[in-house]
């Protein structure tokens, strides 16, 4: 599995420099977690890697390169904070939306290819909501919706997965379940997970970075010990969580005094 390197990356919205000269390597087949307070630029960084930062007032520097020399485009799956399910499409259609978006046919085919449909049923089975295949998203709970989003991500079957606080909107217990599930289903993929929850980062990440300051900078990687998903009774983990929480609080307070309030979303 190839590494992904971000070299001398910089991005500004107009005069608002979010980060500059940022270097980060995502190790192939591993999970990298990125922590940071609100408004520090986590989403922006993720969008830059995904190639979603184009706009008149957005200036970018630096480059994203893959270890195998091929472009990253077309090899990522994207999972954002809101589940982005299409409200008019049932679960099955939401999970297979990628296939239909890439199809060249002018009109909606009445039936999905059996191959695609079987694959979709398999991933729905894996995330445990195969019985909801015909439901509309509005009839699902927050946790179930995230499971559909996860199924959609799996369906894309890409080597790289970029996730932006995917479990931020669900309750603590559901969040732990979803973490375990994602960890199990996305092993061997290169994952960049953004979160503001230190515990999440420490449970799932092979490397944990903290983005802070303005312009934002990355701290050195923390490499938590043991296999992922790490269990909660791991003492070392709890200690690290305490440290990280302290650090997050301090950096937020520092920013609070330096940065204009309106800058923080």
């Amino acid at each position: 599995m190839f590494d992904i390197s971000l070299r001398n990356a910089g991005l500004a919205y107009g005069d608002n420099q979010i980060f500059r000269n940022l270097n980060l390597t995502l190790e192939g087949g591993r999970w990298t977690c990125l922590l940071g307070g609100s408004g520090v630029g986590k989403t922006t960084l993720l969008r830059m890697i995904a190639g979603l930062t184009s706009g008149r007032s957005i200036r970018t520097q630096g480059e994203v390169v893959c270890g195998d020399g091929l472009p990253l485009q077309g090899r990522i799956a994207w999972m954002s904070q809101e589940d982005s399910l299409l409200p008019w499409a049932d679960v099955m259609d939401n999970v297979t939306v990628g296939h239909r978006l890439r199809s060249r046919s002018w009109f909606r085919k009445k039936k999905l290819d059996t191959e695609v449909k079987e694959q979709a049923l398999t991933v729905l089975e894996q995330v445990g909501i195969v019985d909801k295949a015909c439901e509309l998203p509005q009839n699902l709970s927050g946790g179930q919706r995230q499971r559909v989003a996860l199924a959609r991500t799996l369906m894309e079957d890409r080597p790289v997965v970029l996730m932006d606080e995917p479990f931020a909107a669900v309750d603590a217990i559901t969040r732990l379940d979803l973490q375990d599930l994602s960890c199990q289903l996305l092993t061997d993929r290169t994952v960049l997970l953004i979160t503001h929850d230190p515990l999440e980062a420490l449970r799932l990440g092979h490397h944990v970075y903290h983005l802070r300051g303005k312009p934002a900078e990355l701290t050195d990687a923390i490499i938590p010990p043991g296999q992922t998903p790490r269990s909660l009774d791991n003492e070392k983990l709890m200690m690290l969580q305490g440290k990280l929480l302290d650090r997050l609080r301090h950096s937020e307070h520092d920013e609070g005094s330096r940065v204009h309030k309106g800058d923080i979303q």
Partner: protein
């Protein structure tokens, strides 16, 4: 109370109010007739009213259909041919800045006294709310869906058909609701300026002969048509776009 009963209650209330005003202020019947005599007239002239209602309804519905088609096409052009936008927007505004009332006589001249000129009047009125609402809806597709589609490598046509178009439907629906309400204006004004059939024509004739009860009868029927058309559209839109009321986007 059931929501479907409320419009009916409003109708009954209006009738009572009308009757009350006529009774209390002793308004002479050549100024405002009382509801009963209007109803009488309606029954007596039912065949005529029916015939003219069909004419006006046909004008309204045809105008609506064409106006929606043109409005949606305009919105698509505005969204996808960005180069044309600066040229088309002023044109769109000009069609609204000129009052249709001023245009009506010219339209009669060009398209004759038949239905065509009324349909065109209606199209002119409806076109704008439909085009702007649809354009707005297409422009403000939920960013999350666009990001997702981009990373999935969506084809532009598939993107329109599967994401942007359905995403714009709730906005288009509000344009349609406005369009349905203003559609009668186009048809009736057209009939006033020159026609030989329709509820507007009937009103004009009745007015000229001081048949105030017939004039009110035609007005009542027109009101019923408009309200009926609105509720029908609203019902259809709710059925066809069931997600609009439940999602925040």
């Amino acid at each position: 109370m059931k929501d479907s009963l409320k419009p009916l209650l409003v109708f009954v209330g209006l009738l009572l109010f009308w009757q009350g005003v006529v009774a209390i202020f002793d308004v002479p019947s050549y100024i405002v007739p009382d509801p009963m005599s209007v109803f009488d007239r309606m029954v007596r002239d039912a065949p005529l009213l029916w015939e003219y209602t069909l004419v006006t309804l046909a004008e309204m519905v045809m105008g609506l259909v064409l106006g929606v088609v043109f409005g949606v096409l305009m919105a698509l052009v505005l969204v996808y041919f960005t180069g044309l936008r600066p040229w088309l927007l002023p044109l769109l505004l000009i069609t609204q800045a000129i009052p249709v009332f001023a245009l009506a006589p010219v339209l009669m001249l060009w398209f004759g006294y038949g239905m065509a000129s009324k349909v065109i009047m209606t199209v002119l009125i409806i076109f704008f709310p439909v085009a702007t609402c649809c354009y707005d809806g297409l422009r403000h597709t939920h960013q999350g869906w666009l990001d997702l589609a981009h990373t999935m490598g969506a084809k532009p046509w598939a993107m329109l058909r599967m994401i942007r178009w359905p995403g714009a439907l709730p906005a288009l629906a509000s344009g349609l609701r406005v369009a349905v309400v203003v559609a009668p204006i186009g048809a009736v004004v057209g009939e006033w300026v020159g026609s030989s059939a329709g509820l507007g024509y009937l009103m004009l004739q009745a007015n000229a002969r001081l048949w105030v009860d017939l004039m009110f009868a035609a007005l009542t029927v027109l009101a019923f048509c408009s309200v009926g058309l609105y509720y029908l559209t609203d019902y259809l839109l709710r059925r066809l776009i069931p997600w609009q009321s439940k999602t925040a986007h």
